[in-house]
């Protein structure tokens, strides 16, 4: 037979052991959930960072290359127009001064201007077409709408990275709480079911609870 107070002590010890065991089991499961969540969030943040940086590099290249193609086309038109203006000026000067030579040169320049305009228009039309590789064609033919869409996507990736980083931080905080819960459970196991042991166990439960709440937040 066992005396009543001994039986009470055994019951208390058993309750203490059960709580400690359940707590250790919960810590193991929470550690797995938080580890998964942390890896998932870390990968998502890294990918979004990389994607945002790639899009920024691509945007920069598209803006630079498409601007060069456009500037070049406009510059060619200006060259042709300059020749046309020069031709008109010579013809006017020839007529005004009754100078046959200047008039003839102006007329020849006017003919050349018409041909130059057509040739430069044909030259600009070949820009950004086959056989240039697809990537370079994409850079040359980028429109303002394309650039705006890419910029919106780049900003979206930055937002995704921020959100994933926050999730990762919550996971790491949860794992820190969990480590503390583990230490407090170990301390409780050493102190056993005295007052200090119970305080340690309750604190461990609180830490594990906080960790569980963070795990739910990261998965939500």
């Amino acid at each position: 037979m066992i005396a009543p107070d001994s039986a009470a002590e055994l019951r208390a010890e058993r309750r203490f052991d059960m709580i400690a065991a359940v707590l250790i089991g919960c810590i193991a499961v929470l550690a797995a959930i938080l580890a998964y969540s942390q890896i998932d969030a870390s990968l998502a943040a890294t990918r979004a960072d990389m994607k945002a940086a790639r899009l920024a590099a691509d945007l920069s290249a598209r803006i630079s290359v498409s601007s060069q193609a456009l500037d070049s086309s406009l510059g060619a038109q200006q060259v042709a127009l300059m020749m046309g203006m020069d031709a008109a000026s010579r013809e006017l000067a020839g007529v005004k001064n009754n100078d046959g030579g200047t008039l003839a040169v102006g007329a020849a320049e006017d003919q050349a201007f018409t041909k130059l305009q057509k040739s430069l228009a044909a030259t600009s039309a070949t820009s950004g077409s086959a056989p240039v590789d697809v990537y370079t064609r994409g850079l040359l033919n980028a429109t303002t709408a394309d650039l705006e869409n890419e910029l919106a996507e780049q900003n979206h990736q930055v937002d995704l990275s921020n959100e994933a980083s926050s999730r990762e931080q919550r996971s790491v905080l949860g794992l820190s709480f969990l480590a503390l819960a583990g230490v407090l459970t170990g301390l409780a196991a050493v102190l056993r079911e005295g007052r200090a042991g119970w305080i340690s166990l309750v604190a461990a439960c609180a830490m594990a609870g906080g960790s569980g709440a963070l795990a739910l937040l990261t998965l939500a």
């Binding site: 890896i39 790639r54 590099a57 691509d58 060069q68 040169v105 020849a108 040739s119 056989p131």
Partner: protein, 241 residues
């Protein structure tokens, strides 16, 4: 009077109860070994899965970083070729084309003119010929017939393709492929880390088996199944990846 809290020795008539108690103690010891074995196995399996997930996750990050580096390299190569064509070659070629067209028209007009007009036209044509002679040698775009359009002007696409073909390795760069490879590795890492969940449930059941003595066998069996499920899941991810 018996002191409280004291355990009493069994009497001779209680010897069968003592034997049963000893057997129970022996069974409990076996249970302890089972719990220890399950927990140790779960810990080892979780550690292996965790390490592997971390390794694969790192490989995914490496692949993504390579994609970024490749993207920068690819865009720098394309930008340099485009800059060379549109800013260095094309302005000179346009000036040559302008001079050629002007020279042609001046000579045509000079052929049908006489006197001072013919002289003026010829003189202007000679100026343009001088410009052509001075610039032609320095322009691949204007100097090679392969880049001349039938309607006049230059085939910029063909010239740019030739410039790009000088460094085929730069054209062949594929950051999208590296990004896709990184995505695949990231999925593998996530699935591997997910395999830690059944393993941890196995550990949870193993720990519960310690205080819940009556259900110890059942808990240990369920825990073993959970740990095995985690290990099989991790192996499956590795095989299918």
């Amino acid at each position: 009077m018996r002191p409280s809290g004291e355990l009493f020795e069994p009497s001779a008539s209680e010897s069968s109860a003592v034997t049963a108690s000893e057997m129970a103690v022996a069974s409990t010891e076996r249970g302890h070994s089972g719990v220890a074995l399950l927990l140790a196995t779960a810990a080892v399996v979780a550690a292996i899965i965790g390490a592997r997930a971390s390794f694969v996750s790192n490989a995914a990050s490496d692949s993504w970083q390579s994609a970024l580096r490749t993207e920068v390299k690819r865009s720098a190569g394309a930008m340099e070729d485009v800059r060379y064509l549109y800013q260095s070659e094309l302005p000179v070629a346009i000036r040559i084309l302008e001079a050629q067209l002007l020279q042609g028209e001046l000579q045509t007009a000079a052929a049908i003119e006489t006197g001072p007009a013919k002289q003026a036209l010829q003189s202007e044509a000679d100026v343009q010929a001088g410009i052509i002679a001075a610039l032609s040698s320095s322009s691949n775009l204007a100097g090679k017939p392969a880049y001349a359009l039938p309607s006049g002007g230059f085939d910029l696409a063909k010239r740019l393709a030739d410039l790009r073909a000088q460094y085929p390795a730069l054209v062949a760069l594929d950051p999208n492929g590296l990004e896709t490879a990184g995505d695949g590795l990231a999925r593998e890492a996530e699935m591997l880390s997910l395999a830690m969940l059944p393993t941890s449930i196995g550990a949870f059941l193993g720990v519960l088996a310690q205080p819940f003595k009556r259900r110890r066998g059942l808990l240990l069996a369920a825990g073993s199944v959970a740990v095995a499920a985690g290990a099989v899941m991790a192996l499956g991810v590795e095989v299918l990846a």
